[in-house]
Symmetry: C2
Subunit: 460 residues, 2 copies
């Protein structure tokens, strides 16, 4: 945590955010930052990552502190570092320095927090030591796996309504995350010709992120088995006919995330079948982005992607039928089984810690339809929202070999024709798209996605 | 977790380990692997790392399973992956395949574990979801922050006695970790001339580790402020007169750790004062390694380092007095305030999760002396132990500006002479040393540590 690198406008940004919160709730909120989680023994810790709700209002990655927000005022509860900690951790900014940086109205030691909890709402953090403390001080269970209740739910809804759209302070950070994410993907493409393992491409990509003093915003996917949607293995050898799918994002020093996927040919050249499907996924991607503007339902963007993919598969002779009908019966989900994207902000699936409160407009619930159940966002778009657009095509054995699904879609899929596309295991193209007042802005547009340029970047 | 990459001798190694455990205890032991810890929301997880005690007997990084060891037999409690998980995570090895790989004598679903807990000892894992389950099933508190009691303490002592010395299976992995750690440090030196930030050197080093499909065994220290002992900041710019201290280690796919520190000049050339101190730290390092053999007290190795450093500082005119007397009064700790090293194995501070049970011979306790309190290992050395040797010299403001310490050592330190060494903020040289039957073997010997070669590697 480095104060010197923090933009001087931080205090203004934070003040504005808590004023907006004060317009929505009439009770105090206490947000804990959380502590580090142990890895294999208590002193060997995973890198500290504070609660995103805390970060939104406090701006800095401060471990083991709390802020109390009421009527637009911020009280910082924090203990000054012990003198002995200077030996191990160096001189850290003290409470008053932090308070000045974030524009706190008052500061107190953590021991006084217990006298300020009355009628306060909170949101559970992820680490056990801190949610235990939250539960004890507030005298009720505050658990990350429980949906918020009562005033905690009211607080969560208020914060969601703020975090759904991004202010300038957030956008400055999100553009930084996007830029480094783009650079990581370019490095991954460039490293592929010399790489023998997936792990080597991952190293080139994460190396860029580490070199910018950022972290990955989620565990990277860098795989020649793109059909495994959450693949976190990196041991496979790269073969000339493989496609490499990389879903890698950078997170800035103050916690804002990027999330991009590209798919490129290991050999530097798509096969004809790979190029057909690649261009189909890209067509879906481009159609979705072209449709983004305020007022459009994100669910309709998802259905648009499904329709473009279904139509493309009809054109390729893989599907038989009419695209709208195919989508109506969820046939697209055989090859595109996930949602078209999600909110992006301080979390890669922004605010997923409070369930679907952020992703789903009040009164809406997840569908249990095969083609819709994984849709993470179902709201009308508004200026300032940042969403991902990430259509894909996958040949997932667990789906395509499922007896029930094969029976259901027996007359729709031309399995013989499909077998000609066996060198297309998984393709996804994902960008980060800001909803503007007139349409959209792709924050990750500096990363080409047309097949020819992707080939060139891989060969360079 | 990839079965195909696992050496076929794994089952034999594991069988031998549990036979040896059976010779030490006459009650069953249940070891849980643990689960992933959440980062900023429940589905965004830190990389999974099982309990090291589990890994020692089960060999594979399996989440959310348990093994029951009794009389040399291993029962594997594990649920087969749900069919739906194949969509997201791909086809994983099933319970029977895992059981064959690790040589399990029986397999059961996790739901049957509750019927096998009678009289069983365990060791707490680090993640809250699992230690909650441990506590519930065993009907007593099993918490990672509590020292083990009763049969749990007996089990911990038995496992410690096994893990204190490494078998061939362990050494094979520890040599792999050492080799990749060495390669990472060479890459860091080579990247320094082009680097502007600490973070860029870190990226080059961790890139090597990631490219080998390994992880870091602890959060890397890569800093021009080596005087901050646990520095985890990487934002400083590299200046020509700086020394860069890098404490970075690789951990293999089955969890075995490397731990190496080198210090090199950013410019590729030590200043005369830097070289004086560097060579002094190296002399302490070499003297300690030369002394390692079975039967030698590790505490005496620490005191040898302290004495070499004290004598060197006398020779340089920084200390006045006799080296033995200076060590007796802890004067060396002004500049060398930590211990000479620690056990290394599946944990970078091996078995530190059970406190000083591993580090301290039964009946011994930590000293509260300024010069000894951070000594992590205090036992006679035995063949098969792997220890680090990591002397250092630091000018820590929190120590050197401490009023009490300055008063205590007023007549010992020539502060004016010391001020001539202001370009030496922190130097450490650390290697991983195996105790052999006749002496020692430095597993990280492939990484040069003499000043000239370090300069050459930095300039290459
Ligand atoms: Mn995404
Ligand atoms: Mn060490």
């Amino acid at each position: 945590m480095v104060i010197s690198n923090i933009d001087s406008s931080l205090a203004n940004t934070l003040s504005h955010r808590r004023q907006r919160l004060a317009n929505l709730i009439d009770f105090p909120a206490i947000l804990w930052s959380g502590g580090s989680s142990p890895r294999n023994f208590p002193a060997n810790l995973f890198p500290f990552r504070p609660s995103s709700h805390f970060l939104y209002f406090a701006g800095l990655q401060l471990p083991n502190v709390a802020i109390r927000l009421e009527a637009g005022k911020l009280e910082l509860f924090m203990d000054d570092p012990k003198p002995s900690s200077a030996l191990w951790h160096g001189e850290m900014p003290n409470r008053d320095e932090i308070a000045q940086t974030i524009g706190a109205d008052a500061t107190k030691p953590m021991s006084e927090l217990e006298f300020s909890v009355e009628d306060a709402a909170t949101i559970a953090v992820q680490d056990a030591a801190t949610w235990t403390q939250q539960s004890q001080l507030l005298n009720r269970w505050v658990l990350p796996q429980n949906p918020p209740q009562g005033i905690d739910l009211e607080l969560a809804k208020a914060i969601v309504s703020l975090r759904l759209t991004h202010d300038e302070g957030a956008l400055t950070e999100l553009r930084k995350a996007a830029a480094v994410t783009v650079a990581a993907h370019k490095a991954g493409m460039a490293a592929t010709p010399q790489a023998k393992l997936e792990a080597e491409v991952r190293a080139a990509m994460e190396g860029v992120i580490i070199a910018h003093n950022m972290t990955t915003s989620y565990n990277s996917i860098v795989t020649v088995h793109g059909e495994v949607l959450h693949n976190e293995q990196y041991h496979h050898r790269l073969q000339p006919g493989d496609l490499l799918l990389a879903d890698v994002g950078a997170e800035t020093e103050t916690g804002w995330a990027g999330d991009v996927t590209r798919t490129w040919p290991v050999s530097g050249k798509f096969s004809p079948t790979q190029k057909e499907i690649y261009n189909l996924v890209l067509a879906a991607h481009d159609a979705c982005i072209a449709k983004i503007r305020p007022g459009v339902e994100y669910g309709d963007i998802h259905l648009l992607a499904a329709t473009v993919i279904a139509q493309g598969l009809v054109d390729l002779g893989i599907f038989q039928g009419n695209a709208e009908d195919l989508v109506e019966m969820d046939a697209h989900a055989l090859f595109f089984p996930h949602g078209i994207g999600h909110l992006l902000g301080l979390d890669v699936h922004d605010m997923e810690d409070v369930g679907d409160l952020a992703g789903y407009e009040e009164g809406r619930q997840r569908s249990d339809r095969f083609g819709l159940s994984y849709l993470r966002l179902n709201r009308p778009l508004r200026p300032g929202m940042l969403v991902t657009i990430e259509p894909g095509f996958y040949q997932v054995p667990a789906i395509l070999n499922d007896v029930n699904l094969r029976a259901k879609y027996e007359n729709i899929v031309n399995w013989e024709r499909l077998s000609q596309f066996s060198d297309v295991r998984g393709i996804r193209i994902e960008d980060d798209v800001l909803v503007t007042t007139t349409g959209s802005e792709v924050l990750t547009a500096a990363l080409p996605n047309d097949a020819d340029t992707v080939e060139t970047l891989t060969n360079s």
